[in-house]
Subunit: 127 residues, 2 copies
DNA sequence: CAAACCTTGACACAGCTGTGGTAAGGTTGT
DNA sequence: ACAACCTTACCACAGCTGTGTCAAGGTTTG
């Protein structure tokens, strides 16, 4: 059979078993279950888990962000409400604030790096 | 002049001055500035602030969620990557997990209510 | 049947979120 | 000039996020 248990799936995807359950809890991926209730990860799930890893790390976002995106595409009313808010630029239609969240994100990243460096100084060498 | 200062804007929108700065920091709304650097909120900004309040409370989402939605519509690459991940349901195309995050959200809400109730028992009466 | 899995549930903990303060120092209006 | 604003930059604090670990109990397999 080509369905892995949670530890095996963890092994090949780089997540921990703990995180695989967490991801499921967040509604991002729901593996099949065996008769006894064991989680069964097929090839498609494994691929999605790897892609998810890639997605989060390369764009520096969190699981909850994907969770929100998921909610956006399911709850059309929410989606429309959010779009309406963005579109509501009644004045100054040439408004382009795009610089703040960038600095924000950069600072968050800096704080994270400092915190990690405190507990594991070797990251600085490979960075 | 129809531009309010931060305290006045706070008054009419229901946010605190503190939060208006926070919202700006998160990149969601950038008011004009006076020569001396004072924030100036025009009618459009005030409306957006009220709508934002409504949006957050009725859908029970956070500022960071809107921040992420903003990022999604600015960073096309990110948007495509997220969409690609959702679309990557190579197997089981009839997969509909839509129940987990609901329970998740409900529990979050419950925890919040309990926590609030501990410090302010009167909320239970009006609920 | 015993080792090696799996399941859910709970405790723990650092960092981020959302808020409120306070301080030191400019600006404005009377 | 003085009160009453405003600005940025910090401290604080409860709750959420992302992780790990451990316990009590069911399942699989040699």
């Amino acid at each position: 059979m080509d369905a892995l248990t949670i530890h095996e799936a963890a092994e090949t995807t780089g997540w921990s078993p703990r995180m695989l359950r967490y991801i499921e809890r967040a509604g991002l991926l729901e593996p099949a279950r065996s008769d006894a209730g064991y989680r069964l990860y097929g090839p498609a799930e494994l691929q999605r888990l790897r892609t998810l890893r890639e997605l989060l790390s390369t764009h520096d976002i969190g699981l909850t962000d994907i969770g929100f995106a998921l909610r956006l595409r399911r709850d059309v009313e929410l989606h429309d409400a959010v779009e309406a808010w963005f579109e509501e630029k009644v004045s100054r239609p040439d408004d382009v604030p795009a610089a703040n969240w960038l600095r924000w994100e950069q600072e968050k990243h800096q704080r994270l790096l400092r915190a990690v460096a405190l507990q594991n100084p070797t990251v600085l060498e490979t960075a």
